[in-house]
Symmetry: C2
Amino acid sequence: MTSTPLFIQMHPADNVAIVVNDGGLPAGTVMPDGLTLVDRVPQGHKVALTPIAQGQAVRRYNVPIGYALQDIPAGAWVHERLLHMPPARSLDNLPQATAPAWNAEPLTGYTFEGYRNADGTVGTRNILAITTTVQCVAGVVDFAVKRIKAELLPRYPNVDDVVGLEHTYGCGVAIDAPDAVIPIRTLRHLSQNPNFGGEVLVVSLGCEKLQPERLFPAGSIAIQSIAACVINTRATGQFDTNNEAAPDVVCLQAEQHVGFMSMVDSILHSADKHLKRLNARRRETVPASALVVGVQCGGSDAFSGVTANPAVGFCTDLLVRAGATVMFSETTEVRDAIDQMTARATSPEIAQAMAREMAWYDAYLSRGSADRSANTTPGNKAGGLSNIVEKAMGSIIKSGSAPISGVLAPGESLRGQGITQGLVYAATPASDFICGTLQLAAGMTLHVFTTGRGTPYGLAACPVIKVATRSDLARRWHDLMDINAGRIADGEASIADVGWELFHLMLDVASGRKKTWAEHWQLHNALVLFNPAPIT
Amino acid sequence: MTSTPLFIQMHPADNVAIVVNDGGLPAGTVMPDGLTLVDRVPQGHKVALTPIAQGQAVRRYNVPIGYALQDIPAGAWVHERLLHMPPARSLDNLPQATAPAWNAEPLTGYTFEGYRNADGTVGTRNILAITTTVQCVAGVVDFAVKRIKAELLPRYPNVDDVVGLEHTYGCGVAIDAPDAVIPIRTLRHLSQNPNFGGEVLVVSLGCEKLQPERLFPAGSIAIQSIAACVINTRATGQFDTNNEAAPDVVCLQAEQHVGFMSMVDSILHSADKHLKRLNARRRETVPASALVVGVQCGGSDAFSGVTANPAVGFCTDLLVRAGATVMFSETTEVRDAIDQMTARATSPEIAQAMAREMAWYDAYLSRGSADRSANTTPGNKAGGLSNIVEKAMGSIIKSGSAPISGVLAPGESLRGQGITQGLVYAATPASDFICGTLQLAAGMTLHVFTTGRGTPYGLAACPVIKVATRSDLARRWHDLMDINAGRIADGEASIADVGWELFHLMLDVASGRKKTWAEHWQLHNALVLFNPAPIT
């Protein structure tokens, strides 16, 4: 914490800087460089370093984040009502793979203790996941999970948890609509997250639109033994119980079920089989390259792009240098930086794939009479972020400086696209839970989440390391924030210091040597699917 | 259960009937009327009573449910692959309020024991609801609810339950998009369900888009004491803590919160205040007119429109005669019967409002490249329902024969529209959970749910009475189904018998004298909001 009046200018060409001090600074404050504030400027908000004429660009991160709606004197508070937001950059004529080669040294010798899977992936936790085809079964699955935890889990000490992969999809939806592919593949890939050890147990109702064989078409999943899911074999022959290449399915409507508890017992019976196999898993030393990290920010403020996100970006570079896979996401927060991103692509094809995802999202928002500007929240603005352009510039810093070598459409998985390392753009909405869910589906085993306003976010399926952008938040939320990047603004640590701290914490958390605060309190947010198709 | 070969013809003009017998009937079966089956016909499926020439209408409920794609001999199985579905009826030139007057006698003398509220509504349960503005707070609310149940609830024996109204909305959404009004008003009205006794406790994060004052604009809610929700009063002055006309809000980001447990304690502190007041509520004898019933079907089969839904329709008439409010819903299952519905409207305005909801939904589906035919499920088809026309004709029977005197758009509330009795069309998707959630928001205090395939559906906020369409299902799911309407097909009970049975069970359940099976097992499905607007 500092008592000297202090602001941070991100780039020498910027004509605004943001105030660091807790509580902001009053009008009349004289800054160390001699500038006198003409307004009260809240913490995290922008102050004009020079006079800015009406119509002139307000630059932060060396990018025009808006154009002055009136003359702004030096020392004035530059808030969103003084700015006209520039239109989104056209997706035509983007630079493609034009950035200079990235000559970072490989980073070797770092390892963690992980659970190796048959398919080559490595888990950071050992969890029994129960996949559900439809929301209808959620009440029964909840009941069964309680019994599994009470009756079975104590017998399998190497298993960390049992999680019902519940969601609102599966029926009452236009399942043949073009965009239905997104929620369906998301659910399929969720069940195959490396933290679940390749064990797939499905609970189906029976009459739902998302039939088990639609969720798992032939060849989409490892061979498991099968229970019986029969809608009505006499009428439709929908499900072939002799097909060994199918997941383990408990179907509540199957005729074998007489009475509620018989359904619960079926789930417990199948769960026991999977728990036995999961319990045999053992952590072993694996290279850091086996990590699959998803980075995200939520409840952002102006410090997000100054402290936490740059530290995450530094760590992203370390991970990529170590051969790991890092996903960044949040399409509306990348949109305004698309030219920087396509320049960093490793090939024109990767650049075009990124632009394709932006175009798809532009059209999706437009269909609902919205655009990228719908992203920013009251909290963002209260925290000093004037608009989506400024927010985006601070958001993409999480991606560090490595080249972008892969792109996933929403719900696609890294393994499915043959990606085993490098920096990947996983296209997702910026909604915290949808982004987290899609990154889990992609194969994430460790999640890094930066926040300025503060959120108690957590996921049941993988550890979430939360990074505070401000020391004040880190102090007040001392048992929810895992790392305090606010020390960067306080002058107590460098971006590299916090980046390395995060890197080491990741290896500790991935190894199970440390728990995150969200794990400590068992704070779990719901999985939220991205379903751009209609409900029926 | 019958062993005689049996089918049911719904209307004398129909050229198909459905097979009643468990397991269906083999080819060669001679029916009591002399017709010989030329195919095996599964239970619930249609058999041709006469030869049907290619292009000729296949009639059930005296409505063309499709046109024969080929010549169909008498005794043949008429399944969906033999039918061409007619296009949806135009919404122009619909009959408006043309049905003959409904001369049913008022039904008097029936009462139940309910919880009277200050606003005139009557609850059937006494529940503390914790409203959430955003999914971000769900983990903390879950934690708090567990502690409330363990530490506080035992001191308040008159309170039935504590329920977190969790959802996936609130941030990461295009909150200014035109359709955002639907999820927002749904959440607002959910918190005011009569079963919650007018006690509104809100948990907010602080930086979310759905700010408490956006959820509850001035005048939208009864006056409550207020805690403090301050985003950043210095920067934005977003929340006026001196405003007494605001709900009780616990804001996790408020500066008073230091450490996770201080947030949980704040929720407990507020909860205690509300629990005290709820605990003082007492059941009193009220007329049956105070009931607010929502009817719905899910996991339908061909028996839905023959047994359970007609019994519900009979009961709907009883309720309307008693002065109660009954909502029917499921727009895609009403669409094909819109002319019958607008004819039954009590005024041209009501008829036009129904047509307006149909047109809105047609456009919504079309925007996502879908139409009403996306409604039917594999289970519907396995159960004998060939298409949405046939399904709709069986679905609307739940509405009985009373005139339609009110229409709600999705998320609107009965009280908000000044509706205190009669048969109301509450426009909702047919998705079970979205329909249930919207009916709860409208003010439902008792839910009736018919099912043919079987679903363990339940809601935390109000009792759900489940009605089986078939005796086989009722037998196998003996501890999940509350009423067996399959006895109608078995010839053991009339539609009126089961309708009256349901009516009496409703009064018992509403009074707390009986619990539904979903309550017994505490089977609760998630609230699912209808958000037609984009995610950001």
